[in-house]
């Protein structure tokens, strides 16, 4: 049955190989359906926030900044937005410092129990956020050291859920960094600290910045952990939005959503400049 391929058959084969690279149309359709599911609710929020009427209809009655202005002039909404911003910034700084320090040890040293220690730092991701918030709330109430109903108490919860992201991103940057560069600096007479500061830090700074951005945005959008820890005086934006959706359902909430969407898009654009998103994968449990 063996036969020699003619040049025409070879051309057909090479054409087929080229077309193999194209993605089948059925998969493309499926992919765009998923994109619509992911992005349609976001588009609806933007439209509802810029709509001139009280209810969103399709097509919209007209564009106006009515709800945006209502958001910008409402002390309650601006307070929640500002509080979330402050909470996310404080969380980001603490998480980045703690997480970077831990990541340096976890990825530069080999010692017994390292994998267990890594799992130790990832464990807040496995615990449901509501349970973590509840555990912290009970802990604050029982120990009675002034953390219950305080911003510090909220920051602690947010650091616990954002730190694993910093550790992951910084570890990835450290693994990609060639240790021999630091060794070269040492052999040329630099002290360990100088070599670290002048060689390693500049090389991993993009990873650290990406981890910090992630910590900021995870904290800014955090609902579950804040549920038990927030009070009427300390209301982050997600909790304020939840209360509004439960009871009033006003378009001002959509206007607040627009500002949160802008923040997330900007953060992701910054992240994509800092690290290659191609390498980005899900969080690993095992």
């Amino acid at each position: 049955m063996a036969k020699v391929a003619t040049s025409a058959e070879l051309r057909v084969a090479s054409q087929r190989r080229w077309s193999e690279r194209a993605i089948p149309i059925s998969i493309q359709i499926g992919a765009w359906v998923s994109f619509v599911i992911l992005l349609l609710p976001v588009a609806v929020v933007v439209l509802a926030g810029l709509n001139s009427g009280d209810y969103l209809t399709f097509p919209p009655e007209g564009l106006s900044l009515r709800w945006v202005i209502a958001f910008l002039t409402s002390p309650a909404w601006m307070g929640a937005y500002g509080f979330s911003m402050a909470l996310a910034l404080v969380t980001m700084v603490i998480s980045t410092v703690l997480g970077t320090a831990a990541a340096i040890v976890l990825s530069r040293y080999r010692f017994r129990g390292r994998d267990m220690l890594r799992a130790y730092f990832l464990s807040p991701l496995i615990l449901p956020g509501v349970v973590l918030g509840l555990a912290l709330y009970v802990f604050y109430v029982v120990t009675d050291i002034g953390l219950a109903k305080s911003m510090t108490g909220l920051v602690i919860g947010h650091v616990l859920v954002t730190c694993p992201y910093v550790i992951g991103t910084v570890s990835a940057a450290l693994v990609a960094f060639d240790v021999s560069l630091e060794e070269a600096a040492r052999s040329l007479g630099a002290s360990p600290w100088t070599a670290f500061r002048r060689i390693t830090v500049p090389n991993i700074s993009a990873g650290v910045a990406a981890g910090a951005t992630f910590a900021f945005i995870v904290s800014f959008g955090q609902f579950d952990v804040s549920l038990f820890l927030s009070t009427p005086n300390l209301t982050p934006l997600p909790i304020a939005l939840y209360v509004s959706l439960r009871y009033t359902f006003e378009p001002t909430a959509a206007a607040a959503g627009i500002f949160a969407i802008i923040l997330v898009v900007v953060s992701m654009l910054i992240t994509s400049r800092l690290v290659s998103l191609r390498k980005f994968g899900g969080i690993k449990f095992s």
Binding site: A31, A101, L117, V138, F139, G257, V265, R278
Partner: protein, 306 residues
Amino acid sequence: MNTMDLTSSPYQNSFGRSVRVFLGGSRVFWLILPAFAFFLIFFFVPVLSLFLISLDKPVAGVVEPQWSFTATNFIRFFTRDTYYGAALRSIEMATLVALITLVLGYPLAFMIARTENPGRNTFYMILVLCAMQLDMVIRLYGLMVLLGDNGLINRALLDAGWIEEPLPLMYNFSGVVIGLVQFSLPLMVLSLIGVIRSINPSLEEAARSLGATRRAAFWRIIVPLSMPGILAGSLLVFAISISSYVVPALMGGWKVIVMPIHIYQQIAELGKWQFGAAIAVVLFATSVLAVVVYQRYAAITAGGRT
């Protein structure tokens, strides 16, 4: 001993060495201490205390541990159908959500993994990551405007004359499932992309050159080889769906009572701390059980290429 000794002998693994490292052989090692202490004090101690409280006898309004070690709360949970029914409903719901997100997420992950143009690829990734990072409550606002009785979808269908009555798209079980699918789809996609990208294209080419159709090559080569990603993604989606409070609360309109809602009600409304803690323990145990099941199956399907 200085830092370079440690990094230049990376495969040394003796216990004595790690103890020496731990006790100050290297000053750099102490960098891990703040994070370690922080997690110990504010994560492990509170979580273990919560587990302890779940074993206390139920006294309304009392938070302090009583060290009474009784299974009353758990017996109550597993003998009243309101509670174990909620657990079963949570599991059923999370399983359904995992299946739907898999079917929806796979084509998207496949398209992103096979898009070679770096600009397009980054653009797709930014879209998925933005959708994931955006606060779920904001996305729920959009979903509620779309799915309500007076929402955009029902209005469009009524105006077109295709339906007489608004379809019950939310404030019921299916509404919660739709919300959770929207919530967890990005995580499924991210779990699948890496695995699909790592499949060697020559395996598919080999199947094709041996006469398989594209469809057959896809179902018999690509899909089985993406099994580790399918399992990891399904587990993640299961775990975050079962622990979500805000999606069932808003999309279910208090008609779909799942475990996180029971926890909140027991504690914030009834002051039953011990029983609320017990439900939290059951919720956590369910997530852990999913991880254990996953690891058993992952070992089988990975076929040695972990």
